[in-house]
C-alpha cells in the first residue's frame, strides 16, 4: 500500500523517536500502513527490552 503523502522524507524517523504522534502519523499514511507501523513500533520496543534484559541478565 502506497503512503498518502509525505510532508518530508524523515517523518518515520521523527515518529519512531516520539517527535510526532501516532495521530499525526495516521494523517500521513494509509490505515493499513498505520496499523503495520504501530505493530512495528510495539515490536521494536519489545525487541529493545529483550535485548536489554538479556544484557543485564534476567536471572535474579
Amino acid at each position: 500500500m502506497e503512503q498518502k503523502n509525505t510532508f518530508n522524507d524523515t517523518y518515520l524517523a521523527e515518529w519512531i523517536h516520539g517527535e510526532i504522534t501516532n495521530n499525526q502519523l495516521k494523517e500521513l499514511v494509509s490505515e493499513e500502513d498505520y496499523n503495520a507501523y504501530i505493530k512495528l513500533k510495539s515490536g521494536i520496543n519489545l525487541y529493545e527490552a529483550q535485548k536489554l534484559l538479556w544484557t543485564i541478565h534476567l536471572t535474579v
Partner: protein, 170 residues
C-alpha cells in the same frame, strides 16, 4: 545531570532499576503464584512493560509502578485461567490479548523483526541500532558517523519503512 540520572529510558538507569528492584518484584510475584517459572515470566514482562512505557514512568515512583504492573499481569493470568476454565466447562471463550495464540504470534513477529533488522542495509542498521539499542540521539549519531542529522533521519526513516515491508514478506 540529575534529570539524566532519573531517565528510565536510559539503559544504564534501567539497569540500576532492574538490579535494585527485580528481586523484590520476584519475591512479591512468587508469593502470589508459588510457581517459579510463571514468576520469572511475569517479572520479565513487568520490566518489558516498564521499558515500553519508560517515557511516561517516573523514577521516583518506579518501584510502585513495577509492583502494580506485576500485580496486573498476575491478575490477567488468573482471569485468563478462569476464562479457560469456563471454556472447558462449555462457556463461550472470547479472544484475549493474553491468550497463548497472541503470545505465539508476538514471538513469531519478533523473530521476523530480528530477521528484518539483520537484512537492513549496513547504513540503515547502523543508525537503527545506535538509536534504538544504544539510545543515542540523532545528533549524537550524526556526530559519531560524521554525517548530518538530516542524513541520520533519512536513514532511520528508510530503515523503519524497510522493516515494515520486509516483515510483510518474511
Amino acid at each position: 545531570m540529575i534529570k539524566d540520572l532519573k531517565n528510565i529510558c536510559s539503559p544504564k538507569v534501567f539497569e540500576i532499576i532492574f538490579n535494585t528492584y527485580a528481586k523484590d518484584v520476584k519475591r512479591f510475584v512468587f508469593f502470589k503464584t508459588r510457581d517459579l517459572s510463571l514468576t520469572e515470566d511475569i517479572v520479565q514482562d513487568a520490566f518489558v512493560k516498564l521499558w515500553e512505557g519508560c517515557k511516561g514512568a517516573s523514577y521516583d515512583t518506579v518501584k510502585n509502578y513495577l509492583f502494580t504492573i506485576a500485580n496486573n499481569l498476575f491478575l490477567n493470568i488468573v482471569k485468563h485461567n478462569k476464562v479457560i476454565d469456563k471454556h472447558q466447562k462449555g462457556y463461550v471463550h472470547e479472544a484475549s490479548n493474553e491468550s497463548p495464540e497472541f503470545l505465539y504470534i508476538e514471538q513469531e513477529y519478533l523473530e521476523k523483526l530480528e530477521t528484518a533488522i539483520a537484512n537492513l542495509s549496513e547504513k540503515q542498521r547502523e543508525v537503527f541500532l545506535l538509536s534504538r539499542i544504544e539510545k543515542k540521539k540523532y545528533k549524537e549519531i550524526a556526530e559519531q558517523l560524521n554525517i548530518s542529522v538530516k542524513a541520520v533521519e533519512k536513514r532511520m526513516h528508510t530503515a523503519v519503512k524497510a522493516l515494515k515491508e520486509k516483515i510483510e514478506f518474511i
